[in-house]
């Protein structure tokens, strides 16, 4: 492993940013990004699961027999997902109502399992944590960006809060005469906005 810790961390923020570079885990990406608030909430929930599961998978990598490793990873990931689900219900119920069924679906998010299998099970704890944080933050950033684009086009402004803190409100960024594209916040709009963002990102070379 010649890569430095900083490289493990920053690769998730740009070079391998999910879901744009690693086109993985698209179900929550398309499903919850109707607003920036939901995108950030979902991204941070996934990041938490990713960091915790990466740490644990890495700690247990020598104990877990390779034949049952996937089952063990799933147990670890599922546990943290339920932790997130219960904490959200206890503290930010409104966000839980918005994200709904997508929170339990983090269990089968292939980014989380992918990092456990491809990285954490082969590396020691600190790099695994850095990897989880990088990929998690990258995912949060992507979801927030996609959510912001859709919310802007769909409603003409941005409004919400982050986990009940930091409320923000930017109404009518395009002027009062702007006619919102309700299409952008509906399901087909998710595909089109994601496609446009992929196109823009691919204009910039990744290396």
């Amino acid at each position: 492993m010649a890569k430095s810790l900083a490289q493990e961390f920053t690769k998730g923020l740009w070079k391998e940013i999910p879901p744009f570079r690693l086109v993985l885990g698209l179900c929550p990406v398309l499903g919850v990004t109707t607003s920036m608030k939901n995108g950030i909430g979902m991204g941070l929930a996934t990041a938490f699961v990713l960091i915790c599961s990466n740490i644990l998978v890495s700690l247990l990598r020598k104990v877990v027999p390779s034949k049952v490793r996937i089952a063990c990873f799933i147990i670890i990931i599922a546990t943290f997902v339920i932790v997130v689900e219960m904490m959200m219900q206890a503290f930010v119920y409104g966000l839980f109502l918005d994200l709904g069924v997508f929170i339990p679906l983090i269990v089968v998010n292939c980014i989380v399992l992918g990092r456990a299998e491809a990285f954490a099970s082969k590396n020691s704890v600190i790099p695994s944590m850095a990897d989880g944080m990088g990929i998690g933050l990258g995912f949060t950033f992507s979801l927030a960006a996609l959510g912001a684009v859709r919310e802007l086009l769909g409603t003409g402004g941005l409004a919400g809060d982050i986990f009940g803190f930091l409320p923000y409100e930017l109404p009518n960024l395009f002027g009062a005469s702007f006619e919102p594209f309700a299409f952008a916040v509906q399901a087909p709009g998710a595909f089109i906005c994601l496609g446009l963002m992929l196109f823009l990102l691919n204009l910039v070379p990744s290396k």
Binding site: V64, V83, M86, A90, L97
Partner: protein, 196 residues
């Protein structure tokens, strides 16, 4: 040898995970109940009991049903307590769901139902909660008749594409009907003092 190791590792992991989650559940349960009451059940109760002269969320009492406690919400109209709201849970298409069933104790009729927490598919089973016109079918049904969807010979129109959810809501309503029969004297007795 490897076989034993696999079994042991998986067992230990599952036990730790299960135990930890149980502890967390105990810890977060009271907070989740408060949040649910405020954000899901509260609005649903107020919607069913529109026009009530009291605050139905505050006017609640508990009754003992076997080992469990059930919370009953009371709606008063013109100062007279007349609607009792029972909460039951049913097994939906995806997972358990919560259902509030309101009974008019004076006329022995259903005063309305409302799905609270659920994990049904949005747009199909989720309509049970999101489409008030569908839930309104239950309003005014007599308490001595079981609810059934039209496919099963009843008079409730199932949600299109969500027969399982519709049946589940009917089953849960019937469960509430049975509870109402069982506890009616107790309900009527407690309702007077509960109104706030």
């Amino acid at each position: 040898m490897e076989m034993i190791k696999m079994v042991v590792v998986l067992t230990i992991l599952s036990v730790i995970s299960g135990g930890g989650l149980k502890w967390l559940e105990e810890f977060t349960k009271p907070m989740i109940e408060v949040q649910e009451l405020e954000l899901v059940k509260g609005p649903a109760i107020r919607e069913i009991l529109k026009g009530a002269s009291n605050d139905p969320v505050e006017s609640r009492f508990k009754i003992q049903d076997g080992d469990e406690e059930r919370t009953v919400f009371v709606g008063a109209f013109d100062g007279e307590p007349r609607v009792a709201v029972l909460e039951v849970s049913g097994k939906g298409f995806a997972d358990k769901f919560g259902l509030l069933v309101a009974f008019d104790v004076v006329e022995d009729k259903l005063a309305g139902i409302s799905v609270t927490t659920h994990k049904e598919t949005p747009g199909l089973g989720g309509e049970a909660k999101d489409n008030p016109a569908w839930a309104a079918q239950f309003k005014g049904k007599p308490v001595n008749k079981q609810c059934k969807v039209t496919n099963d010979g009843g008079d409730i129109n199932a949600l299109s594409g969500a027969t399982i959810t519709s049946r589940a809501v009917c089953d849960a309503t019937n469960q509430a009907l049975a509870k109402y029969e069982e506890f009616k004297p107790q309900l009527v007795e407690n309702m007077k003092s509960a109104v706030k």
